[in-house]
């Protein structure tokens, strides 16, 4: 995504072109694997932040809160 706060530079356009080229080349299986990796990381980070901010919660509470957050996930 181009940053609206910055005048468009040639290298930004080049990055955008390469990004689109890669996205077109990926197979559905590759996209699914990538999505799975993103979900694992997002889940872990969310749980980790909750642990650091709410020391009073049990691990069960944390996993429940993360699950709820993903239930309400948006694309």
């Amino acid at each position: 995504m181009l940053d609206p706060l910055i005048p468009v530079q040639p290298h930004h356009l080049e990055a955008e072109r390469i990004y689109v080229e890669i996205a077109r080349r990926l197979t559905p299986a590759q996209q699914l694997a990538t999505l799975h990796g993103l979900q694992q990381t997002a889940w872990a980070l969310k749980a980790s932040l909750l642990r650091s901010e709410h020391g009073e919660l049990t691990e069960e509470d944390i996993q429940l809160l993360v699950r709820e957050s993903f239930r309400d996930a948006t694309p």
Partner: protein
Amino acid sequence: MQLPDLVSLFVAPLNRLGVSYMVTGSVASSTYSYARFTNDIDVVAVLSDVEAERLHAAFDTPDFYVPPLEVMHLERQRPAHGHFNVIHAATGLKADFFFAGSDRLMRRSLELRRQAPDQNGERVWFAPPEYVILSKLLYLRDGGSPKHVADVQAMLQVRDETLDRGFLLGEIESLGLQATWASLKP
């Protein structure tokens, strides 16, 4: 097998370099509120010329697209909003790296960053939630996409009671974001 992810690809090199950085954008807003899938990560970093060169070297392989080093130096010299993209060729995952430069809000927020490890124990420094909201308000004011509206509203819904109101409202005023802010409040 470890699946490719935004942290191992783009954050781990920053940790190895030992530079000051914070993850912001949708990765941060979805960690602070409801999950939203995104395939790019926004990172604000303080990088000297030497550190910028080292970071460039970390990505200057066939596995990544990274702009030429001279472009990074030009972007670094901007007083504000200097940035560059790195793209992972095998997955299309992308990072937008922003140089903090002399940007007052970025510098202030870097002092308030907080960390959380990922599933592999990799440390991730996050921008404070107030900065994440402010940066999305700036995007919105300057024509950003409606997804930023949803991100800000989700953060307000989930973190309303824990936000530093003094920081948030003070910066909204000093950045001239009152109208954008008013349009989002429930």
